[in-house]
Amino acid sequence: MKKDNNSLVVAIVFASIVISGSLVFFATQFEGAGGISESDIEKRVQDGIEEYQYNEAFPLVAVGGADEDDDAVMGDPNAPITIVEFSDYECPYCARFTTQTLPRIIEKYIDTGKAKLVYRDFPLSFHPNAVGAAVAAECAREQSDDATYFEFHDKLYEGGALSTERYVQYARELDLDLSEFNSCINDESKADEVQNDFEDGQRYQITGTPGFVINGRLISGARDYAVFEYLIEKELEN
């Protein structure tokens, strides 16, 4: 009788070990065959939250990127990242972006062929000289190239009140044909081009200056370099 009991205990222990072992084995097999572990779920939730926050912070306003029109481009035309800047020459925050943030973006992304910058005009109604300055920069480009445009652009953002005298002075400094330049700045069609940029900006939900559409995603304002870096890196990953 005692021997029978011992056998029973051994049998129970054996059965327990086999059943537990089988359960563990099947559990691991099930997980490996497409089951989701807790850490996976956590990661997916975290990814979802990050994606949501990313879309909230940088809404997609132009699928496939914003229209570049025929505006001045800085950098490799085939770069994977396109930064379309909508700016106003009389806006102090645009000047802040141009003098403080843009040089770092140029160094890290534009000069290395990762990004290109397209400059489009968004003259605000309360800046009376913004359209004139935008037209003058277009006239400088017409006589030369995009590089000259950006040289003129940098001079306009150097500071001081904007005026026709200043535009002519800059044209002289850049060795442009002054008579051609003078007739160009009075050309109505150039103002129409500026207006076209403004309307496109409104289409991309630009409400203030500076405003940016980076690979179709909107950033408003002269934010810190880190914000631009984050968005560009994220877009490069994608």
Binding site: C91, P92, F126, A161, T207, T209, P210, G211, S220, G221
Partner: protein, 152 residues
Amino acid sequence: MKSILQKPTYVFVVLGIAFVVFDVMAYVLAKFPGEINFACTPGAYFTPGNLVYSAVFSLLFGLFVVGFYELLKHKSGPDASLLSLSGIGILFAGLTTFCTACTIPVISLFGFSVGLSFFTDYNLYFKIAAMLAMIISIYLLNKQLLKECDCG
């Protein structure tokens, strides 16, 4: 001030002035450029916080005008400090209801160009200073009214 505010006529005048000033401030907030995320944006300062600020400032301004009128009625000129303080309050409040950096980035004074962007960069501090200047002005006005005609 207490005795002034017991007269219904003055109360209505205070409210009337406050409404006019508030309307002007609300118009400026809605139509003039404001600053949001370092971008010049028309109407960006039209926020609930700024509307409350404008309402409180307008009431203080209304009180000040009525007190000032009462003081002049008793043929007594206000203190220079009182006038200066209220002037500073009005100036600061006026220049912080819109983005000065976006609207008038630079002004020329006596041949020197002065940037006004600090009004935008330190907007909150200038708003607090404007409010304090108006409150102190009203306090000084009240003190003078009590001294001159015992009608504070």
